[in-house]
C-alpha cells in the first residue's frame, strides 16, 4: 500500500519535465520558498537595507543601482521591503491551505463516506458559504474581527474550507461507489481498515494536487485583503499593503506600487503554472492524449 506508485511517479515526472512552463513555474516556486526560509531564518541580516528604517533624505527615488526597486515616500528601500515581505505571503498561503485541507478535507471525506444526514447537512452548509463571493465574505469576517495579519488568515479560513469539504466529499463518494470498495467489504475488512487502506490514500492525492493549485488563489485573495487594509498593518512590509500605500504616488513614483504588485503577480503565476502542470501530470486522462 503506498500513495505513490513508482511507475506512475516516473510518468508524472517525465510529463512535468517536458512541460517547460510548469517547470519554470516550479523553479520560481522553489526559489521563492528558499527565499522565504532564508529570510525567516536570518531576518533583515542579509537585506541590503533595513526595511523599516526611514530615510527622509532619499524619498521616492526611482530604481537605480543602489536601490533596485527605488525608495518609497518614507525613503525606505522597496527591494528590501519586498524581500522582507516574502515570508508573509507564504505564511498566509500555507496556513490557509493546510488548515482548510485538514479541516474541510476530513469533514468532507467523512460526510461523503457516511452519507445520509451528515452528508446532507454538510452540503447545505457549504452551499451557504459558497453562495458568497470569497473575497466579500472574507472582507466581512475580517472587518468584524478587526484588521491584522492573523485575523485576515482567520477570515480566509472561514471562506476556504468549504471548497475542500466539497472536493473531499466528491472523491469519497466516487471511492465509496467503486468496485474495489465493494471488494474490500466482501473481504470482510472492518470500517477502520477500509478507511486506512483505501479511502485515505485515494482521497489525499487529488486533494494535494488541488491544494497546490489553490495556493495561488489564496495569495491573490490575501493580497487584495491587505490592499484594502485588512491584512498586515504598517509598517510591516506586506506586498498588498505596499501597493495600496504607493498608489497615491502612481503618477510620480510608479515603482512604489507597481513593483510589489508585480512581485505578487510573479509568485501567483508561478504557483499556478506549477499547479496546472501537476494536475495535468496526475490526471492520466489528460496525460495520455
Amino acid at each position: 500500500m503506498s500513495l505513490f506508485d513508482k511507475t506512475e511517479l516516473r510518468l508524472t515526472g517525465v510529463y512535468l519535465l517536458r512541460n517547460k512552463l510548469s517547470l519554470a513555474g516550479g523553479a520560481i516556486v522553489a526559489a521563492y520558498l528558499a527565499l522565504t526560509v532564508v529570510v525567516t531564518l536570518t531576518g533583515k541580516f542579509l537585506l541590503p537595507y533595513d526595511p523599516y528604517v526611514q530615510n527622509f533624505a532619499q524619498t521616492l527615488l526611482p530604481p537605480n543601482s543602489a536601490h533596485f526597486f527605488g525608495t518609497d515616500d518614507l525613503g525606505r528601500d522597496i527591494f528590501s521591503r519586498v524581500i522582507a515581505g516574502a515570508p508573509i505571503e507564504a505564511q498566509i498561503a500555507f496556513v490557509v491551505v493546510l488548515i482548510s485541507l485538514a479541516f474541510g478535507g476530513s469533514l468532507g471525506a467523512f460526510a461523503g463516506y457516511l452519507g445520509g444526514m451528515a452528508e446532507e447537512l454538510l452540503m447545505r452548509i457549504t452551499d451557504v458559504f459558497l453562495s458568497f463571493p470569497a473575497l466579500v465574505l472574507a472582507m466581512a469576517v475580517a472587518i468584524a474581527i478587526g484588521p491584522g495579519l492573523t485575523n485576515s488568515m482567520m477570515a480566509l479560513l472561514v471562506v476556504w474550507w468549504p471548497w475542500y469539504a466539497r472536493i473531499a466529499r466528491g472523491e469519497a463518494l466516487a471511492i465509496k461507489n467503486s468496485q474495489y470498495m465493494e471488494a474490500a467489504h466482501a473481504a470482510g475488512l472492518r470500517d477502520v481498515q477500509i478507511v486506512v487502506r483505501h479511502v485515505l490514500p485515494n482521497i489525499l492525492m487529488p486533494l494535494l494536487v488541488y491544494a497546490t493549485l489553490d495556493i495561488s488563489n489564496v495569495i491573490l485573495t490575501g493580497s487584495i485583503l491587505s490592499f484594502i487594509g485588512l491584512g498586515a498593518q504598517p509598517p510591516q512590509p506586506e506586498w498588498g499593503r505596499m501597493v495600496f500605500d504607493g498608489q497615491d504616488y502612481l503618477s510620480g513614483a510608479w515603482w512604489m506600487s507597481v513593483l510589489p504588485a508585480l512581485a505578487i503577480f510573479v509568485v501567483v503565476l508561478a504557483f499556478s503554472l506549477f499547479g496546472d502542470g501537476l494536475r495535468d501530470a496526475f490526471d492520466p486522462k489528460l496525460r495520455r492524449r
Binding site: 510518468l11 517525465v14 510529463y15 496525460r287 495520455r288 492524449r289
Partner: protein, 331 residues
C-alpha cells in the same frame, strides 16, 4: 465482384503517444463490393475500429498519421490524399458511419428530428447541381419521418420530437441508423453497432440491417468482435490481428474451414449452445503490444505451429482458393 466500391490498399497508420509509437495498422488490404456486407472481426486493440475511422479520416490527426503509400480508393478517388474539407464532402452521402454507443453518439441537446434533418439537408445540398429547388421545411419533416419509418419506428412524428435521452438504447441505435441512411450513402461503416445492446435488441437491429441491405442497396462494412454476429450478417469476413488482415473468406467457408491458426483458435475458444460438452480450447498468451509488436508473423508467440521463418518474416496474404485468402506460412 467486378469493381469494388471501396478498396483499401496497404494502409498503414501510426499514433504517437507518450509511451511510444503505436503501430495500429500495418499494411491492410481489404475491399468492399457493391451490395455486400463485409464483416471485419478481431479482438480489442487489433486495429479494426481504427481502420473504420481511417476510411473516413476520423482518427484525430495528430496524433494519428497515415503513412505514405496508404490507399483508400472510393469512387475513383484516394481518400487518403484528400484535404480535410474534401473528405468532409465524401462523408455522409458517400460513406456514413454508426458507432458502438448510441447513448453518447447522438448529440444530447438536439432532437432526433433535428439530427436526422441535418443529413437530409446535406444530401439535398450536394445534389442541388441537378435540381435547383430547395425543399420546404415540411418536405424535410416528411423525409425525416420517412427515414424513421425505414428503421421500423412506428410513430415517427412523436420520436422526431424526442431528445436522445428520452429514448431507450435500442431506439437510439435505430435513430442513429436512420440518420446515417437518410443521406443515402453507398457504404455504411458499422462499428460494433450492437455491442452495447441486449441480446434481444441486438437481434432486432441485426435483422433491421439485413432488411435495409435488401431494400436500399447499401454496402456495409460491419466491424465487430463477435463471431456470432458475423455469422449472422456478413457475406464475406476479414479476420484482423495486430494491425494485419490474417484471413479473408466468404462467410460459410471461414466458419466451415478456417485456415489461419488464429481464426481456428478463436473459433475453438467460443462456448456454443449446440455443443456444450466440448471443452473450449484456449489460445495461450495475450494480444501483442501495438508499440512493440512481435517480429515476423505477429501471431507466432501464441501459435502452436510457429516455425523459424514465422519469427523473422511477416507472411503475405495469399489467395488459396477462390476468395479465400490467408497470411500464414503453413500454406
Amino acid at each position: 465482384m467486378s469493381e469494388p466500391l471501396l478498396s483499401i490498399e496497404n494502409v498503414r497508420l501510426e499514433f504517437n503517444t507518450e509511451q511510444g509509437t503505436v503501430h495500429a495498422l500495418r499494411g491492410v488490404d481489404l475491399s468492399v463490393g457493391k451490395n455486400e456486407v463485409v464483416g471485419l472481426v478481431g479482438e480489442s486493440g487489433c486495429g479494426k475500429t481504427v481502420l473504420g475511422l481511417a476510411v473516413l479520416g476520423l482518427n484525430p490527426m495528430p496524433p494519428a498519421r497515415l503513412l505514405d503509400g496508404s490507399q483508400i480508393l472510393f469512387q475513383g478517388r484516394n481518400l487518403a490524399e484528400l484535404t480535410p474539407h474534401e473528405l468532409a464532402l465524401v462523408r455522409g452521402t458517400g460513406i456514413s458511419m454508426i458507432f458502438q454507443e448510441p447513448a453518447t453518439s447522438l448529440n444530447p441537446v438536439f432532437t432526433i428530428g433535428d439530427q436526422i434533418s441535418e443529413s437530409i439537408r446535406l444530401r439535398i445540398q450536394r445534389q442541388r447541381n441537378e435540381d435547383k429547388s430547395t425543399p420546404s421545411s415540411s418536405e424535410i419533416d416528411e423525409q425525416v419521418y420517412e427515414a424513421l419509418r425505414l428503421v421500423r419506428i412506428a410513430d415517427p412524428e412523436r420520436i422526431a420530437r424526442r431528445y436522445p435521452h428520452e429514448l431507450s438504447g435500442g431506439m437510439k441505435q435505430r435513430a442513429m441508423i436512420a440518420m446515417a441512411m437518410a443521406a443515402k450513402p453507398s457504404l455504411l461503416i458499422a462499428d460494433e453497432p450492437t455491442t452495447a445492446l441486449d441480446v434481444t435488441i441486438q437481434a432486432q437491429i441485426l435483422r433491421l440491417m439485413r432488411d435495409l441491405m435488401n431494400e436500399v442497396k447499401t454496402s456495409i462494412l460491419f466491424i465487430t468482435h463477435d463471431l456470432g454476429v458475423i455469422a449472422e450478417i456478413a457475406d464475406r469476413v476479414a479476420v484482423m490481428y495486430a494491425g494485419h488482415i490474417v484471413e479473408e473468406a466468404p462467410v460459410g467457408q471461414l466458419f466451415a474451414e478456417p485456415l489461419h491458426p488464429y481464426t481456428q483458435g478463436l473459433l475453438a475458444s467460443l462456448p456454443r449452445l449446440s455443443d456444450l460438452d466440448r471443452e473450449i480450447k484456449q489460445l495461450p498468451g495475450s494480444v501483442p503490444d501495438a508499440i512493440n509488436p512481435p517480429s515476423g508473423c505477429s501471431f507466432h508467440p501464441r501459435c502452436e505451429f510457429a516455425r523459424e521463418e514465422c519469427r523473422t518474416e511477416s507472411p503475405k496474404l495469399k489467395e488459396l482458393k477462390a476468395g479465400h485468402k490467408v497470411a500464414c506460412y503453413l500454406y
